[in-house]
């Protein structure tokens, strides 16, 4: 190994942003693969006879609204407001968990509940990861980097809507129809 260094300047911002943008697209593909597989597993598992539907807590509508607001803020280049909305979303999701717990919907027992907790937690982790990137962008909030934040926020919003729709509409009965299982 040769570790002597050629003294060179860092690449310019435009090149850097192109690379970051391409890297972000690739990352979104990976996340899409992850959640698609989870949703496939969700449908397969919910088709089994022991699954029962879980009624979604009302707080989820609040969290959804906050997340939509976050995306809008990012598109208006309101970096701080966008980040605050993401944090608000996490709080609202936590509130929804508490509401479910209060109704004795536990992690174990019913696969619909297990998937709900697991997938909301994973989605929340991706939001939290976005906040780490967001904190980094605070250091140099160029328009290009804010646009990437907005893209990630939009993506997580769409992902959340897909998950919310799946939890609401893909009930065990629907899953059984999809998998061709007679109850």
């Amino acid at each position: 190994m040769n570790t002597s260094a050629v003294q060179l300047q860092a690449p310019d911002e435009a090149t850097r942003e192109r690379a970051l943008s391409a890297g972000l697209w690739a990352f979104l593909v990976v996340v899409t693969s992850l959640f698609s597989l989870f949703l496939t597993a969700y449908v397969m598992r919910l088709s089994s006879p022991d699954a029962t539907a879980v009624e979604m807590p009302r707080q989820l509508w609040i969290s959804t609204s906050v997340l939509i607001l976050g995306s809008l803020m990012m598109h208006r280049r309101q970096l701080n407001a966008g980040g605050a909305c993401a944090m608000g979303f996490l709080v609202a999701q936590w509130w929804a968990w508490q509401a479910l717990q209060a109704e004795h919907v536990v992690l174990t027992g019913n696969p619909a509940a297990s998937f709900f907790y697991l997938l909301t937690a994973l989605h929340g982790l991706h939001v939290a990861g976005g906040l780490v990137a967001w904190a980094n962008v605070q250091a140099s909030p160029t328009p290009g980097r804010i646009a990437m934040c907005a893209r990630y926020w939009d993506y997580l919003l769409m992902l959340w809507i897909v998950l919310f729709a799946a939890f609401t509409w893909i009930t065990p009965e629907v899953a059984r129809v999809i998998c061709g299982v007679s109850p």
């Binding site: 570790t3 050629v6 003294q7 990976v30 699954a51 992690l107 174990t108 697991l118």
Partner: protein, 586 residues
């Protein structure tokens, strides 16, 4: 990338290493990270090798080694499989070769995200440490088999069902994070950081193989992540994603309704592309070795690229051929058998193109070339037995036998490892500036090649004889004849010899890195860009003040009328040797 020439004396690269720690330990240089990946993978691979020899001792001489009881045997099987497939081969091809070769071969200063690249290595190292830690947890490592099928993986009766399986799953999840961080880097670097003139269809096939395999890894590892997370929940938190209601040790378990078959689908949706995550870089690297050492352009370059891409795509629609014995709708079996056999078409195209590259070439039987030729023979044999096993009706009787052990060790164990060795002998002079010792290399090659054939070829016969795999010992089974026991003893002796000769290889690496014969900048007279660095080994930043400019493909060998038998990729256009317009042979 637009690194600009410094205008002020205090300008410097954004991550130029300063101290020993930032140069060798917390390094963000892709070449150092590649060596870190490589050394870690080889070290953990040696553990996997020792485990295989311990298994062979038990199989060849049952009862002679009392400490290898059934429980330990299954732990060795599991750890051997997981280490070799994931922590050695995947890490070495993507983290090792990918890291070293991609920026040098496409003419970049480094990976586009050097910090992420460094994190990728440290997460990989952490996953290896966690994996090895499972040898020291109560109950030892998991013995569930490398596929970790539930429900048995987490039930009492399976070795390591308390802690071993948890540690294994945590290690895998960390590995996936590491592979994803690395993978995003490799893909983005290939797409964004190629130097001027380096079009996608001028990239060496090594880069194409690693690039496509990385895309497979980015799409397939999530499936392992999903199954790993859900199994961890089942084990630790008591959910029932995979665990059905069952009676274990006389007691009804707390689980109900889970689907073990769901795990198998998820696992193999990862598991089959994983075969190609290992095989595609091997295909790419071997193409370059054959071309360089036969002094001839690769035959049908574009077909080779499309074959790599086609194999990558097809690898996502064949997974259930690992589950024929799990039972499925016959139409599904028909579909997966058909898609499996279709993969033979692009694969055969590659084998023919390698043969046609050799045809009338100026073949130099250097050590890398010997390994490349051995790969072709081994891969061909392993691939052909894959055609047997891809058929449902042939697979079902053979699936539980040594025929399968022979098949996958030939096709995804030995064949890619031969390429790993060939690649190391080939690029070692660029990495260290010194040649590996040739005599030791020949010894290593012949013992490894002939030895692995002697180990795995007889296993096909043992499998056809009906000898079951996964058994701890074969005494007291009337249907297994004495000759099979003799065969087993013979295989064990050879396996020990092949294991020992790998130490010669490790010695050669260590000795030659410091005492080997000095290599010039381009000892193999190769045309691709990594041999054109201004310094050998390349300095941080790779290319001096100016990035190279590429004028042709990487396969301008034996061009008629040229003064030498190769034309470097960055030589001026007037030197000729441009790639053929339609990708045929020039």
């Amino acid at each position: 990338m637009a690194y600009v020439i410094p205008t002020r004396p205090d300008d410097e690269s954004h991550h130029a290493p300063q101290s020993f720690w930032t140069r060798y330990v917390w390094s963000q240089d892709h070449k150092v990270i590649a060596v870190q990946y490589g050394c870690t993978a080889i070290a953990v691979g040696l553990v996997g090798l020792v485990l295989s020899n311990l298994m062979r001792l038990q199989l060849g001489f049952p009862g002679e080694f009392a400490f290898i009881n059934a429980e330990r045997y299954y732990q060795f099987v599991t750890m051997h499989g997981m280490i070799m497939v994931i922590y050695l081969l995947t890490a070495l091809f993507l983290g090792g070769f990918g890291n070293y070769l991609i920026p040098l071969m496409v003419g970049a200063r480094d990976m586009v995200f050097p910090y992420l690249n460094m994190l990728s290595f440290w997460f990989y190292l952490l996953s290896v440490v966690v994996l090895i830690a499972s040898f020291f947890v109560p109950g030892g490592p998991t013995g569930a088999g490398w596929t970790l099928y539930p429900p048995q993986a987490i039930l009492p009766g399976t070795p390591g069902h308390d802690w071993g399986i948890i540690v294994m799953l945590v290690s895998l999840l960390i590995f996936i994070v590491a592979a994803t961080m690395g993978g995003l880097n490799y893909v983005t670097t290939v797409l964004q950081a190629r130097c001027e003139g380096m079009t996608l269809l001028r990239m060496p096939l090594s880069v194409w193989g690693i690039f496509t395999a990385t895309i497979l890894a980015l799409l397939a590892f999530p499936a392992l992540f999903v199954s790993g997370v859900m199994m961890l929940f089942d084990k630790v938190l008591g959910t029932s994603f995979f665990m059905p209601s069952l009676v274990s040790m006389g007691q009804l378990s707390a689980h109900q309704g889970g689907s073990p078959l769901l795990f198998q689908h998820l696992f193999w949706f990862f598991g089959h592309p994983e075969v190609y995550i290992v095989a595609l870089p091997a295909f790419g690297i071997v193409s370059d070795l054959i071309s360089v050492h036969a002094r001839k352009a690769i035959f049908g370059y574009r077909t080779m690229v499309w074959a790599i891409v086609a194999i990558g795509g097809l690898s996502f629609v064949v997974w259930a051929h690992h589950m024929f014995v799990s039972g499925m709708n016959p139409y599904f079996g028909f579909f997966f058998a058909t898609s499996t056999l279709i993969i033979a078409v692009p694969t055969a195209i590659k084998v023919y193109n390698w043969l046609l590259t050799l045809w009338r070439g100026d073949i130099h039987l250097s050590v890398p070339m010997l390994f490349a030729l051995a790969f072709m023979l081994t891969f061909l044999l392993g691939g052909l037995t894959g055609l047997f096993l891809g058929n449902v009706s042939v697979d079902i009787p053979l699936s539980g036998t040594y025929f399968v052990v022979a098949h996958f060790h030939m096709v995804m164990g030995v064949a890619p490892l031969l390429v790993v060795f060939g690649g190391i002998y080939h690029w070692f002079p660029k990495i260290t500036g010194r040649m590996l010792d040739d005599r030791l290399g020949h010894l290593h090659f012949w013992v490894t090649f002939l030895g692995t054939y002697a180990i795995f070829f007889p296993m096909h016969y043992l499998g056809l004889l009906g000898m079951p795999r996964r058994y701890h010992h074969f005494t007291d089974y009337e249907f297994i004849p004495a000759s099979a026991h003799a065969f087993n003893a013979w295989i064990t002796v050879i396996a020990l010899i092949v294991g020992a000769v790998q130490l010669v290889f490790v010695f050669n690496l260590l000795w030659s890195a410091f005492r080997g014969r000095k290599a010039g900048p381009n000892p193999w007279q190769a045309a691709s860009l990594e041999w054109a660095t201004p310094e050998t080994p390349p300095a941080h930043g790779n290319w001096g003040r100016d990035l190279p400019v590429v004028h042709r493909w990487a396969y301008a060998y034996s061009v008629p009328g040229a003064p030498r038998d190769f034309i470097a990729q960055d030589a001026p256009s007037k030197d000729g040797g441009a790639e053929p317009a339609y990708g045929g042979s020039p």
